[in-house]
Subunit: 223 residues, 2 copies
């Protein structure tokens, strides 16, 4: 085989891989990773089953590759936009905004991919749940680091530890995703933003414009 | 058939029903409701498949009966203990304590049954997701009502609406369950209690002993 023909085959393989993973991150977010099967994907994408098998080898390899592909999409949509802002309170707020946008715009059709598959595998052991736990730990580590940097910048009081703030922020984000997908409603995102603003106002040493509650978001006298 | 023999058959049917549902709420909390099949249950419980089929009729009926059985367990473990306290701030706190106990003691082996099956069916339509949505709405309505009663008793400021407080409390409870099951850790429950205490202190008009942070729960200087 000439080098050019080999290159062509590798390139076609990579294209097929991308095509398959584009589909599996979607299925994963709506039906979970157990719903993935090489045969089903081959049929849906009109590929040969042996071709898909040659690229991924096994259902488990396909599940792991799907988690890696979803992580990349997550980083591009949630982490990278926040890193465009300098460390400090503002970056925490922008991280919150990008998370809520990521969930509400349904970057994955079933809402947050990682929440879906965490619930699916939470009680299980093996390479797939290990990869999910590892992604979760990495993500929480990033939030904690973002908070520690804001503490170091003098933007936060010492009332709450970085660990505690991480817990509270992710609780609001994740609940807005769960409720929005389950009830097909935008209201949970409004509640999440209100909760994050109140939390960051209580935890910060400064008054920040972006943490002020929009005047029209609450009707007077409602409870 | 004499009445006595009929009574005996009905009673045996009820016993088998209870036996099956005891098992299905457990499987539901760890593997989800799609994992239930009449054949598998018959094998696991050493019953005849036709007997299980006669009692439930279809997988969907079994799933719906499982949700009803789980609701009863949920009410007994979470709602009833809170109702033992008079309406007001204290009842909200006790509701929080009973929720955290319900999750941490693994009343269902996979953690909160409803969180598991909500994630499983969140993107779907049909009688099973409808029953899950209905249970979720009923539960949130109960929390909201509990908060409105505390507002009426003068225990809460008007800073947060009952809707908003419901969102924030359930976010802390649910995140502690998710993180505890996924990471096999008790730490998320400590974080949830800290978060709920801070939230209720900020929202309440009174100083309450039960909302004071235990002195030993934070190490000095940690962040």
């Amino acid at each position: 085989m000439t080098e050019r023909r080999l290159d062509g085959r590798v390139e076609r393989g990579n294209q097929t891989r991308r095509l398959v993973l584009q589909r599996t991150v979607q299925v994963g977010s709506t039906e979970g990773l157990e719903a993935l099967s090489l045969g089903r994907l081959a049929t849906e994408l009109k590929l040969s089953k042996s071709g898909v098998f040659a690229l991924f080898g096994s259902k488990e390899e396909l599940q792991l590759a799907t988690i890696r592909a979803a992580s990349k999409i997550y980083v591009d949509n949630v982490v990278r936009p926040a890193l465009a802002h300098p460390p400090g309170l503002r970056r925490i707020w922008e991280l919150s905004e990008s998370w809520i946008r990521y969930s509400s715009e349904r970057v994955f059709p079933g809402g947050c991919f990682f929440q879906k598959v965490s619930a699916e595998y939470s009680s299980r052991v093996g390479p797939v749940p290990d990869a999910i736990r590892s992604a979760d730990s990495g993500w929480r580590g990033f939030i904690r680091q973002t908070i520690v940097e804001a503490q170091d910048a003098g933007d936060l009081t010492s009332d709450r530890t970085a660990e505690q703030l991480t817990f509270e922020l992710t609780a609001f984000w994740e609940s807005s995703n769960t409720q929005s997908v389950l009830m097909d409603s935008e209201a949970p995102y409004v509640q999440a933003r209100t909760a994050v603003r109140a939390l960051l106002r209580a935890a910060s040493t400064m008054e920040a414009d972006f943490l002020r509650e929009p005047v029209l978001s609450r009707s007077a006298g409602s409870r």
